[in-house]
Subunit: 407 residues, 2 copies
């Protein structure tokens, strides 16, 4: 495989031919906070998306599924501060906001991907959005940050990544922005992640790559075990890189998928790191599993456990909680042969060998677990498969933030 | 059905022919805390038990399964402060403590049900237990509290209930003690609950009744989504009430089951109310579901959601979180027709009708949700089945308790 490079900034606008905007339209009370984002491609794109598996789906997701039936789109529109889910006239509100943006952009409404994020069950103030549309479109630019900020809810920093790879002698760029924070336990889809690329790739292969990539990135993240009603990961591919079109699973597809995975993993880890109230990024790495699914399921159960998350907040090497979480995960493994260790920039320490506790130095364990990024290493003897999952610690601030989210 | 009565105290010793003891043997550092419990019947009992479905099972559970193969037992032995799970020589430690108690009681080791609860992965100080056995057996009495206290971990109060019913002209008593607090999300079994009855009932019907009862009581409780490695609910039936033996599913069986359900539900709710850090008991009551399983699954998903639990702590009527949890529960229901309301001793308030938010008075909602016992009422239009689940709020104290459990 040829070399490729990650770009730590840029996001959507690292990709040629894409403009973005983010403004405050008034859904959020704080005038300092942007709450309406727009991403627009210069030309029609092949498009793909994956959605929440929650049976309760936000109205904008239902509209977007309709719009993406032809595999084409030119723009992504998203507000924060209100999920437009289980709200009066949700579907008409989503259609109305989309129509006004389409008119202003002089494109068709069904070429727009639309979503909303925020509180569930409150009527979307669609007039505020409509009033802001001219300002929104006018402020479209090659500056990525306003859009990355406008989709944030309780996120503490905007999340954007980009990377480049050479495909068929042409430089192809993929960039994306995402938001996470709470109600984060994606299942077959993701929180909000919007991606753009100039790669020439068919809608079908784009959808295939997106599904493969979300499975090992966003779907392996959990902040609080709650799968949102509005999860969505969408990608637009403009084709302007002029690489030979990717329309089958050859070497070029693999290259594209590798870079897509890189971006999605960066965004997914940023979401875990910035979980509501989080002070630590937790990665659980399971190796030696009998199957890929078992490895993924075990890793996700460990980083989803409230007891593991609380112990990590307290820098307490109480590894029995990892073993317990694996035991109820539903995955297959030999419970009598489990190794467990912790590592961070301060070093690493093994605490359990073949399911039996080791005598370990509590001071060292405390030092390892006091860092901001902790890796929980789980070794099995069942096979050769490995997987990672990403989460965060459970802190007083998670409770504070969610004890009174609406005020 | 004839009348029956609940006894608010008594527990195991409300049942004639049973003695209990609880002492401090030294597993727990605090000398004020009892850590070794014993329940003994005057004569051999029919016995039944259900266990955790966690793939990682505590050594004492594995031993108990062996001991109960003949459906008979005379005593229950349990320590707190150490789970004897994933610990060096776990099975021999469990066998050793059982043997010493059997010798002292002059019964066979395999007539003892044994369990341990506490930290995972640390060697059980079996010498401390053995040394305490004579004192333990000597202190057997008709006072229920020492045993109820000795099985507590982070529980803040002992949990015991008893009730009586007339079967075949004879008064039959059932009593029990339980512990809960953390790592509470039972699946087909329970946390620790030990029950006794003087009812004459076959081992087979006793097992059947216990399984039916735990399904709708303990299995509908969640404190933190973590299914323990040592969950167990066991019952001893001495037969001394001299009722006509219950050996089939007739009217007497139903009477027995009704009272068993009463006790188990009381203990289950006490466990939810006393969840780690909890300030409120949450009950989610789902009605109008298409099947019994759907109703149970929906109710349990709602009371298990970290976001619902945090909102209840903050007395915030953010009902979209209930709807969201139902959506990812995996249960079947019509997501477009969901009614949601809250009630407590301060009154009740409906906040969502047919999946659409209602205008409601925030002051009233705050008042309703500020009470210590909250009922979340979910109404569906899918059928006639209903179920309840029991949980607690998520508080700063849950994080504090679990951030440094081992010290």
């Amino acid at each position: 495989m040829e070399s490729w490079s990650g770009l730590s900034s840029g996001g959507i606008t690292a990709v040629p031919g894409f403009k973005v905007a983010g403004v405050h339209c008034g859904i959020r009370k704080n005038r300092e906070k942007r709450d309406l984002a727009l991403i627009v491609a210069d030309k029609m794109c092949n498009a793909a998306a994956v959605y929440t598996t929650n049976k309760v789906k936000g109205a904008p997701l239902i509209l977007t599924m309709e719009h993406l039936k032809d595999g084409k789109a030119r723009a992504i529109l998203c507000n924060s501060g209100n999920a437009n889910t289980a709200a009066p006239n949700g579907l008409s509100a989503a259609m109305e906001m989309t129509k006004f943006v389409a008119d202003e952009l002089k494109i068709k409404p069904d070429d727009i991907i639309v979503n909303s994020t925020g509180v569930i069950g409150v009527k979307l103030p669609v007039d505020a959005i409509i009033t802001a549309v001219p300002k929104l479109v006018k402020s479209l630019s090659r500056d990525n940050i306003p859009a990355a900020e406008a989709i944030m809810t309780t996120d503490t920093f905007p999340k954007s990544w980009a990377a480049q790879v050479e495909i068929g002698g042409k430089t192809v760029t993929i960039g994306g922005i995402a938001k996470g924070s709470g109600m984060i336990h994606p299942n077959m889809a993701t929180m909000l992640s919007f991606l753009a690329t100039d790669c020439d790739i068919s809608s079908e292969m784009l959808q295939k790559a997106l599904q493969a990539s979300t499975r090992i990135t966003y779907n392996q993240v959990s902040v609080d075990g709650d799968t949102s009603t509005n999860d969505m990961c969408a990608i637009l591919a403009s084709g302007t890189a002029k690489n030979p079109i990717i329309d089958s699973e050859g070497e070029d597809y693999q290259k594209f998928l590798t870079v897509l995975n890189f971006i999605n993993l960066k965004l997914a880890k940023d979401i875990a790191r910035d979980g509501e109230g989080a002070t630590k990024l937790l990665t659980c790495r399971v190796s030696g599993a009998g199957t890929q699914d078992d490895a993924a399921q075990l890793a996700k159960a460990v980083i989803s456990s409230s007891l593991v998350k609380s112990a990590m907040f307290g820098a307490d090497a109480n590894w029995g909680r990892e073993l317990c979480a694996m035991g109820y995960s539903g995955a297959n493994f030999d419970p009598s042969r489990v190794d467990i260790g912790f590592s961070s920039s301060m070093g690493d320490i093994q605490v359990c060998k073949q399911s039996t506790g080791l005598d370990f130095d509590e001071e060292t364990a405390k030092a390892v677990l006091s860092e901001k990024e902790i890796i929980i290493e789980v070794g099995l003897y069942d096979g050769k498969h490995s997987a990672e999952a990403y989460g965060c610690d459970l802190t007083y601030d998670y409770v504070r933030i969610n004890g009174d989210y609406r005020t």
